[in-house]
């Protein structure tokens, strides 16, 4: 089922067009990646979804209905430029932000208690932000984003500035939130996390969507007919390209690029005549390669 639809959104700023006819569909209960180089228009798109800026034309629909500013209560948004009031105590601040999202004070307190315990940061309640490290502040920011249990979570570059430990924690939390029924959109430069987390992606470049769809399907469609073959003896090139050969503990590893018309079985048959085959696996291109290839086109 579809949770969010963006249809033909155009946003013009003085001097340049930030978004030019962008459409995308985010299925419910999934993780959606928004990729693209700096300045492609990701943040503008995210701000339009959050009703922070209005599109010049096109519309955003939540659950099939046109979005209104009241709907942002159901969104948790972690902006790229994020911070907290430096002089305010952590607990007070988290309560304030939760109440702004429409939670009652009592509910917010209860939920905060749960999350502070989960992240083992109960002792921070009366500390000021200026006394915390950046990584600590990010944990607090993450909690305030998800506290009101929104249906839709939007993270703009969530991993930028996170240390590896917190980044890993964040990844696990994102998947856990999805398992509990939330839908997550995030923008990132980190392609490894896209492969780990996302079911679907949109690649935005120069204000337009240049690539869109299911991550596995995209990778398959960008397949280069390259295979990894492990064998007992060295393979000789015969009707196919042989790219890399390495030998480890008496096992030879080869990368083979076959002709497009040839099927896997035909290739295997030919290899079988040469030597004992231990493993045979297609090498799919990583999202990083696809990203660079698509954007530099």
């Amino acid at each position: 089922m579809t949770l969010l639809e963006v249809e033909n959104v155009v946003k013009q700023f003085a001097g340049h067009r930030a978004l030019d006819g962008v459409s995308l569909t985010v299925p419910e209960n999934s993780v959606y990646g928004l990729l693209g180089p700096n300045g492609a228009g990701k943040t503008t798109l995210i701000r339009i979804i959050n009703c922070i800026t209005a599109p010049d034309s096109g519309e955003v629909r939540l659950n099939g209905k046109r979005m209104t500013p009241e709907d942002i209560q159901h969104i948790g948004y972690l902006p790229e430029e994020r911070g907290l009031y430096k002089k305010m105590k952590i607990g007070e601040q988290a309560l304030y932000l939760a109440q702004l999202k429409g939670m009652t004070k009592a509910d917010a307190k209860k939920a905060l208690k749960y999350w502070f315990e989960k992240f083992e940061i109960q002792s921070w309640w009366d500390k000021k932000v200026e006394d915390l490290s950046k990584g600590m502040a990010q944990k607090v920011q993450f909690i305030t984003t998800i506290l009101h249990e929104p249906k839709l979570l939007i993270f703009d570059e969530p991993f930028s500035g996170f240390d590896p430990v917190n980044a890993d924690l964040l990844k696990r939390e994102i998947l856990e939130l999805r398992d509990k029924g939330a839908t997550i959109i995030f923008s990132t430069h980190n392609m490894a996390t896209v492969e780990d987390l996302c079911e679907n992606i949109s690649l935005v470049d120069k204000s337009k969507i240049v690539l869109q769809g299911n991550v596995d399907e995209i990778r398959a469609s960008h397949a280069t007919n390259t295979y990894l073959v492990k064998s007992a003896k060295k393979i000789e090139a015969a009707g196919f390209e042989l790219k890399v050969v390495s030998q480890k503990n008496g096992i030879f590893e080869s990368q083979i690029k076959k002709d497009e018309k040839e099927t896997n079985n035909e290739l295997l048959q030919r290899l079988m005549f040469q030597t004992e085959i231990i493993a045979f696996e297609e090498i799919l291109p990583g999202m990083n390669d696809i990203f660079i290839k698509t954007v530099s086109k």
Binding site: A14, R47, N50, I52, T53, P69, I72, Q73, I75, Y77, L78, P79, E81, R82, G83, L84, Y85, K86, K87, M88, Y96, L97, Q99, L100, K101, G102, Q141, T144
Partner: protein, 441 residues
């Protein structure tokens, strides 16, 4: 609780809880009262010490003229001036030496006060007052006209023009131009101070939210306009709180002090007044002094306080709202507080101009400058406060207030447009041209 009231509450409570706010709020009245108390105190200890003045009177004419009082004792000496001057050992015993060389009727400059330190004004006034009076009487007596002294005293006049205002019903109100001037200038200056201080607070608050990067987090929950208005209203309440605390504390401390030392002070002031009366020509007699104080009190009572307070609050809020939203717009456009100076100058100029216009308006409250500056919204909150105690026609107040309200709605709307674009711009040097473009988004 609605979102804007949450924002107002946060802005208000974080500011009111600040140590600097609490210190300033409580220390200012204490300082004020302390300063007044210090002046009164210093004035009192001065009187306690009796000072000796040696008189060397060559003419021997003025023996009876110089009377002792509780501050000064006059001691006559037949020694030569040089002998006293050169006598080292007893120098601390007197503060000054009065030397009269000739008959003062013939040479009015024949009396000289010698001393090691500068002779204070009080002593000089006292001595010259006594001598003048005596010479005057002698001169009058020389005319040989009976009862001349009484005639002159009767013809002596001390005119103080009363100002009485007629209100619409023909009722008379006793007014005082000086008091009107003082009240007008004080209220105008307070409004000026509050606009500048709290306007700057709005600006730095916006800049801080931007540099802390909290602003986008907040406006994902509330509209940028709500955030801006919440901040402006919250800070206005901080300003009003501080002002009211100052008034209450100052009045409270003064009241407490004066009731504690009431008898003391009354006695002192009565004595002082009598002393001033004795001093002769310069000061008015005690009875006239009390008369003019009474007149001042009736003039103070004659002011329309209810009108004044209502107008003060209206013009304070109007002026603050007009400027605060502009300050917020500036704050949203820049990246750090040092950049604000360049942009806040054009906003500060009309405020500074208004205080000068206010000073001129006090001299001529119904002149064209005063009139126009009390109608134009950028100067009216300050200039109208100066004019108000001089009685301004109702239609002018109504016109000025409605223009002010329309203008602050206008500037707030404009500022809101600049604000909502500005707060999302990072790391960009902004120009006026660019801000003008944001207005049209």
């Amino acid at each position: 609780m609605s979102k804007i009231s949450l924002i107002i509450k946060r802005e208000y409570s974080t500011r009111v809880m600040k140590k600097s706010f609490i210190l300033l709020t409580f220390l200012t009245p204490l300082l004020l009262v302390g300063m007044i108390a210090l002046i009164v105190f210093l004035g009192q200890i001065k009187d306690d010490k009796i000072k000796k003045i040696i008189v060397v009177d060559k003419t021997k004419l003025y023996k009876e003229v110089l009377k002792n009082n509780e501050s000064y004792i006059f001691q006559y000496s037949d020694e030569k001036l040089e002998d006293i001057k050169n006598r080292k050992e007893k120098k601390n015993e007197y503060v000054a030496l009065l030397y009269i060389s000739k008959d003062l009727r013939i040479d009015s400059t024949a009396a000289v006060l010698y001393s090691e330190k500068q002779v204070n004004l009080e002593l000089k006034t006292y001595v010259s007052g006594l001598l003048n009076k005596y010479i005057e009487q002698q001169k009058l007596a020389a005319y040989n006209i009976p009862d001349l002294k009484e005639m002159v005293e009767k013809s002596n006049s001390n005119i103080d023009i009363k100002t009485i205002k007629w209100d619409e019903n023909g009722k008379e109100k006793e007014g005082s131009a000086e008091l009107a001037l003082v009240i007008g200038m004080i209220t105008a200056f307070i409004i000026y101070m509050f606009i500048v201080i709290y306007g700057a607070q709005v600006m730095s608050g916006v800049v801080q939210e931007k540099t802390n990067r909290i602003v986008e987090v907040v406006i994902s929950s509330v509209k940028p306009f709500e955030l801006m208005m919440g901040k402006i209203i919250g800070i206005a309440m901080v300003g009003l709180t501080q002002f009211l605390m100052w008034v209450v504390l100052t009045v409270g401390i003064m009241f407490g002090l004066s009731s504690a030392f009431a008898q003391n002070i009354n006695l002192e002031s009565v004595e002082k007044m009598q002393k001033m009366g004795q001093m002769g020509m310069q000061a008015a007699p005690a009875s006239e002094m009390t008369a003019s104080i009474q007149q001042l009190i009736t003039a103070v009572n004659g002011l329309d306080y209810v009108q004044l307070i209502i107008m003060f609050i209206l013009y304070f809020l109007g002026g603050y709202l007009l400027y605060a939203s502009l300050f917020a717009a500036i704050g949203s456009a820049v990246d750090n507080e040092t950049d604000t100076q360049q942009f806040s100058m054009p906003i500060m100029l009309p405020i500074i101009f208004a205080i000068y216009a206010g000073i001129f308006a006090a001299e001529n409250p119904d002149g064209p400058l005063a009139f126009w500056c009390s109608i134009i919204p950028f100067t009216s909150p300050i200039v109208m406060m100066v004019r108000l105690p001089f009685d301004v026609p109702f239609w002018q107040i109504a016109l000025s207030l409605s223009i002010l309200v329309l203008s602050f709605i206008g500037t707030t709307w404009m500022a809101g447009k600049i604000y909502r674009t500005g707060i999302l711009m990072y790391g960009k040097k902004v120009t006026w041209k660019e801000m003008w473009k944001w207005l049209k988004y």
